[in-house]
Amino acid sequence: MRITIKYFGLIAEVTQCEEETIQFSGHLISEVLEILHSKYTELKNKNFQVAQNQELVFLETRVTGQELALLPPFAGG
């Protein structure tokens, strides 16, 4: 399946883009992250959470094909 991934803040600095679509044949969030870690090696040193369909998810959560987002620490307010 094709999934859209959004990047924010310092993560977007690492990826040099704010959004991209990748081809994905696995099942879990952790597998998406493996792909991203090999594409952007600097990601390993960064602290972020993953949201799917605008809710935070875990490494073992199944990918549903909807929008993912890599969110660095929040700084609102």
């Binding site: 959004k6 924010f8 803040g9 700084a75 609102g76 307010g77």
Partner: protein, 147 residues
């Protein structure tokens, strides 16, 4: 007289003192209100390694953020007996000394506004995907992290 319709939370740039004054004025027809409590977040000119923060540039995962603001709104009205509640957060550049967050709660009685306001601010800090790029006077930057 609750006021639960979704609001646009994000505003481009700083939140002006005039806007805050006008928001207060709009509540003077609501004569069941006895107490208002307002939180304002202001950008600090923190000095880090000898350089002062000149501004913060805010970005957000806007769809998720608006969803989270809406959930915080619902949870707050469920927990506390409020007459009104308003939240505004800046996006884009907010200079040191300017206001980036405005949370406004009103109730017939005072006890509830203190509890509700702190609850809302802590929920926003913890759960809303907003990101802040602290821009120094020399145009270098670092990323802000809430504590």
């Amino acid at each position: 007289m609750t006021d639960k319709k979704p609001k646009s939370v994000f505003k481009q740039g700083a939140i002006s003192s005039e806007f805050i004054g006008e928001s207060i004025a709009k509540h003077q027809t609501k004569t069941s209100i006895g107490a208002h409590n307002i939180f304002l977040g202001q950008v600090r000119a923190d000095v880090i390694d000898g350089k002062a923060v000149a501004a913060i540039e805010y970005t957000a995962y806007e769809d998720m953020a608006n969803q989270k603001f809406s959930e915080i709104r619902e949870a707050t009205f469920d927990k506390f007996e409020l007459t009104c509640m308003h939240i505004y957060h800046s996006l884009g550049i907010v200079k040191a000394g300017e206001i980036c967050l405005f949370v406004f709660v009103s109730s017939p009685r005072r006890k509830v506004v203190f509890e509700a306001l702190e609850y809302i601010v802590e929920e926003i800090k913890a759960h809303v995907p907003v990101f802040g790029k602290e821009i120094f006077e020399d145009d270098s930057h670092q990323w802000k992290v809430n504590n």
